[in-house]
């Protein structure tokens, strides 16, 4: 089981000569990934979803600093443990297809042993001849499937899939999700970062909604079937923006990491914001089988 408690993360940057600036990109974030379960992380682009993934694996850039706690099977996740586990017990499906080695043929990048390579190729409907291609010869969807194959070839206990489905057609995306589901059913903990709420709804157990570097709501996946079951105004706005639910975007943008509001991070865009919301960040609380950080959720 992976527990992330009160994680904050900032980048230290130097503006001009000695002018130091700390840019807080994740603040007081809590998330738990349990074995046998897929937890989907949805939310705004640039809300720190990929950074969370990289923080868990210990592959953040050097100017990133963290506070808070990360526990793996009840033990603190230190850099040493991260180094030992990643690539073996921890698997990452990276977000960008540029993570493929441009100078290595696809077959070798996926391979652990010859059998598994062929099985994975078959599972992801990649032609066997694709094994002898270089990444630049692949289409976006093929590269995506290669990344999935390479990450899931071993037998990881924690899978972090960072947007594994863009560029995949509906049936291939479902195929990939079914694979993740299967890994979860075999006892792995799966952290799925995705924008595709439709897919998350069908394959995940819980959905955590991120906004501006913090979790605003953790809901059961089923709650996303209906707007009224959601708790946080941002989750509701996400729901309404789906093409099948009106395609209605909420106005405004997520606050820039350097200029976060003092109170609730969603308050500047929230139609229900009151002085209470603007002055202090609402605490996370239990509500209808989920968790929400909002003063007005009921």
């Amino acid at each position: 089981m992976l527990e992330v408690k009160n994680l904050s993360l900032f980048f230290r940057m130097y503006d001009r000569a000695f002018k130091r600036q700390d840019l807080k990109v994740i603040s007081n974030l809590n998330i738990i990934a349990r074995p046998g379960e897929i937890i989907a992380v949805a939310g705004s682009s640039g809300s720190g979803k990929s950074l969370l993934a990289h923080a868990i694996l210990g592959i953040l850039p050097k100017n990133a600093f963290m506070s808070g706690e990360m526990l793996w099977q009840k033990n603190p996740l230190t850099i040493k443990i991260q180094k030992r586990l990643r690539g073996k017990e921890f698997a990452l499906v990276p977000q960008s297809v540029t993570y493929l080695d441009p100078l290595m043929k696809v077959g070798r990048q996926v391979s652990r042993s010859k059998d598994t390579t062929l099985n994975l190729f078959r599972r992801y409907q990649l032609d066997e001849s694709a094994a002898s291609l270089f990444p630049h010869e692949l289409s976006g969807g093929m590269a995506r499937r290669t990344l999935l194959g390479a990450a899931l070839a071993g037998n990881p206990k924690l899978v972090i899939a960072d947007e594994p489905t863009p560029g995949l057609s509906q049936d291939l995306a479902e195929n990939a999700m079914a694979h993740l589901r299967e890994m979860a059913n075999n006892g792995a903990a799966v952290l799925l970062i995705t924008h595709d709420i439709d897919l998350a709804l069908r394959f995940a157990d819980r959905i955590a909604v991120f906004y501006a570097g913090t979790t605003v709501e953790t809901a059961n996946a089923q709650d996303f079937a209906n707007e009224s079951h959601l708790r946080h105004p941002y989750s509701k706005a996400l729901w309404r923006a789906m093409p099948q639910n009106g395609f209605e975007p909420a106005p405004g943008t997520q606050p820039y990491a350097g200029a976060l509001p003092q109170g609730c991070l969603y308050a500047p865009r929230c139609p229900f914001a009151t002085p209470l919301c603007i002055n202090a960040q609402p605490e996370s609380r239990h509500l209808r089988g989920g968790e929400v950080s909002c003063n007005h959720a009921d």
Binding site: V97, S132, S139, R144, P166, G167, L168, P243, Q244, F247
Partner: protein, 221 residues
């Protein structure tokens, strides 16, 4: 305006290597069967219609987008815009928004330079696209994929543009940003009478945004 593709042929064949008698190369060629990605493909799209292009992964949608935007030359056939071939130099009126923004942006340029590569958008436009002023001074590695994609879209919407090809442009964005960007793009497209071809895997999006849906396979004879 109308964009027309006639009898396009495209494949990554190593035909130039025929005279090299290296077994390995031949073997590789046989494996890939020298199959063309695109063969005898024709397509006509008017600027008043919004077209969705759909098809399975790896079938050649992105390759076709690159050919229509003049980034790749077809082995035979041609792309005409208002019965004239695409210009060989200067600004191409067909602009492509790529699937992977991190591959379409110079990693060594600050984003302000990338943005003004083709034109200089005003502050109001940047706000409509959801681009923060502070981002202009940062390097691409410091921004998320969705943030970078907004730069690619803004860059493509120069006044000289008459056709936009959006190749899976919004899949890496959250739902709200997706809706915001599509609505901004559609509004600008309406104002300026831009044509739009959207390559997508999401039927929901195609239904919502487009007036016509083309299946890639149906284009080839």
């Amino acid at each position: 305006m109308r964009i027309e593709a006639k009898d396009l042929e495209f494949g990554y064949n190593n035909n130039n290597n025929k005279n090299i008698n290296n077994k390995n190369i031949n073997k590789n060629n046989n494996k890939n069967k020298n199959k063309n990605i695109i063969s005898r493909l024709s397509l006509t799209v008017d600027s008043h219609e919004r077209t969705a292009l759909i098809g399975p992964s790896g079938c050649g949608k992105s390759t076709l987008s690159h050919i229509l935007a003049g980034n790749l030359k077809p082995q035979s056939g041609q792309v005409l815009i208002d019965n004239k071939p695409l210009p060989k130099h200067g600004f191409c009126p067909v602009q492509l928004i790529c699937q992977h923004p991190e591959k379409a942006i110079n990693p060594r340029w600050k984003l302000g330079k990338t943005l003004t590569e083709a034109w200089s958008p005003d502050a109001q436009f940047l706000e409509a696209m959801g681009i923060e002023k502070a981002w202009l001074n940062r390097y691409p590695v410091e921004l998320s994929g969705g943030e970078l994609q907004r730069f690619c879209i803004a860059r493509a919407l120069a006044p000289q543009t008459s056709f936009i090809i959006a190749d899976e442009m919004s899949t890496m964005l959250d739902m709200i940003t997706q809706a915001q960007i599509w609505q901004a793009l559609l509004r600008i497209a309406d104002e300026r009478g831009l044509g739009l071809i959207a390559v997508t895997h999401s039927m929901e999006l195609a239904k919502r945004v487009c007036s016509r849906v083309i299946e890639f396979e149906s284009l080839m004879e």
